[in-house]
């Protein structure tokens, strides 16, 4: 990663919590994207961590928009740049709440219209900015301020919803694998048409683990198979190295669940359900990669 310093597009420092994945992800996304980039950001932690008017720590143009509107605004922006003959990257950077719940129709519309842009959903699995309410992306069994006994519903499968739009490039990533993430951002931006990246973003206050464990948590999510890293070009699936390794020799899922305070009091049955769902997802991806489904 030599050379990142010249390509730091976030000035010291944001007001993000110590150990925040959202900042780490954005740092590497912007370094990969370069200076000719515009960010579209809906209401989320990222709209707050920029700083308060009239100052900002972000060194590239940012357009802060209404919660549901990121993909719609990015569509208009992309069309305007195209009309002007500009090659500027349009990146929507939105949370899970702003993507799987409130922004999903705008996202679906932009994908269907083949908007030339990159949509990144950083997934801290709750409405972080407003104090950790459950979102459609919160996993089964996780405590949030609105699910104090643990969430009774499963995590919404956003990636299969996006995949159903049959787009030229989509990928999953995780803050613990920044080089993998940067490579995927470069590929996504080189793609003409819609690209989508879903990045798992461990969040110390939301997941209730000590701040220094952010990278460890992300690696455990991948090694246990709870989170899978892959790319999809239309119907072709390519599973990324760390998930390939996890498929051969997975780490027991408890090693991911137990250190997180949000899973306090989770039952063995719920853990089994999460494990079986993860195994099913990995089997499906392997079958898709082989082209047998």
């Amino acid at each position: 990663m030599s050379g990142l310093q010249e390509t730091e597009y976030i000035l010291k420092c944001t007001s993000a919590c110590a150990g925040c994945s959202t900042s780490l992800i954005l740092r590497h996304v912007l370094a990969a994207a370069g200076p000719d980039t515009v960010l579209v950001i809906p209401a989320c932690c990222t709209s707050v961590i920029q700083g308060v008017y009239p100052k900002t720590s972000f060194r590239i143009p940012v357009y802060n928009v209404a919660f549901a509107a990121s993909a719609a605004v990015a569509s208009g922006m992309s069309a305007a740049f195209e009309a002007m003959g500009k090659k500027t990257n349009v990146i929507a950077y939105a949370g899970d709440g702003g993507t799987v719940d409130i922004g999903i129709q705008a996202l679906s519309g932009a994908l269907e219209r083949e908007t030339n842009f990159l949509y990144i959903c950083y997934d801290n699995e709750a409405y972080g900015n407003t104090g950790m309410q459950r979102s459609g992306s919160t996993p089964l069994g996780a405590r949030t301020t609105t699910t104090p006994e643990g969430k009774g519903h499963k995590k919404k499968d956003l990636d299969r919803i996006v995949a159903a739009h049959s787009i030229p490039y989509m990928a999953t990533a995780c803050s613990a694998y920044p080089k993998d993430l940067a490579g995927k951002v470069e590929k996504a931006l080189a793609t003409k048409g819609p690209a989508f990246i879903h990045v798992l973003a461990p969040c110390p206050p939301g997941w209730r683990y000590p701040a220094e464990k952010t990278i460890e948590m992300g690696k455990l999510a991948v090694k246990t198979g709870v989170w899978a890293l892959y790319e999809r070009m239309y119907e072709t699936v390519v599973i990324s190295g760390p998930t390939k390794a996890a498929m051969i020799k997975p780490t027991p899922i408890e090693e991911y669940i137990k250190p997180q305070g949000r899973f306090k009091g989770i039952t063995p049955e719920t853990i089994t359900t999460i494990r079986l769902d993860s195994e099913r997802m990995l089997r499906r991806l392997a079958a898709e990669e082989e082209g047998s489904c």
Binding site: E8, K12, C13, G51, P204
Partner: protein, 80 residues
């Protein structure tokens, strides 16, 4: 038109000197450090210099990720 938009200006320290948040400070043992760069790759706030791996304590929030991830265990977190 331009003046009527709420436009923010990028500056260092837009969110204050975040180093004041710190409870524990990262201290690097230069004898042990092999300059692999992993700490600066993972610092969420980009406060570790990429050339000499020095840490900008005006802004380091003391999260401890660098110490946790350093493969040589060259960084210790010491109470302020």
């Amino acid at each position: 038109m331009r003046e009527r938009l709420a436009l923010s200006t990028p500056v260092m320290g837009a969110c204050g000197k975040t180093g004041t948040w710190r409870v524990f400070r990262p201290v690097v043992d230069r004898e042990i450090c092999n300059a692999c760069g992993i700490c600066s790759l993972y610092c969420p706030d980009g406060v570790i210099n990429e050339e000499d791996y020095s840490i900008d304590l005006d802004y380091c929030k003391g999260c401890g990720i660098c110490a946790n991830e350093c493969p040589k265990k060259a960084i210790t977190m010491e109470r302020e």
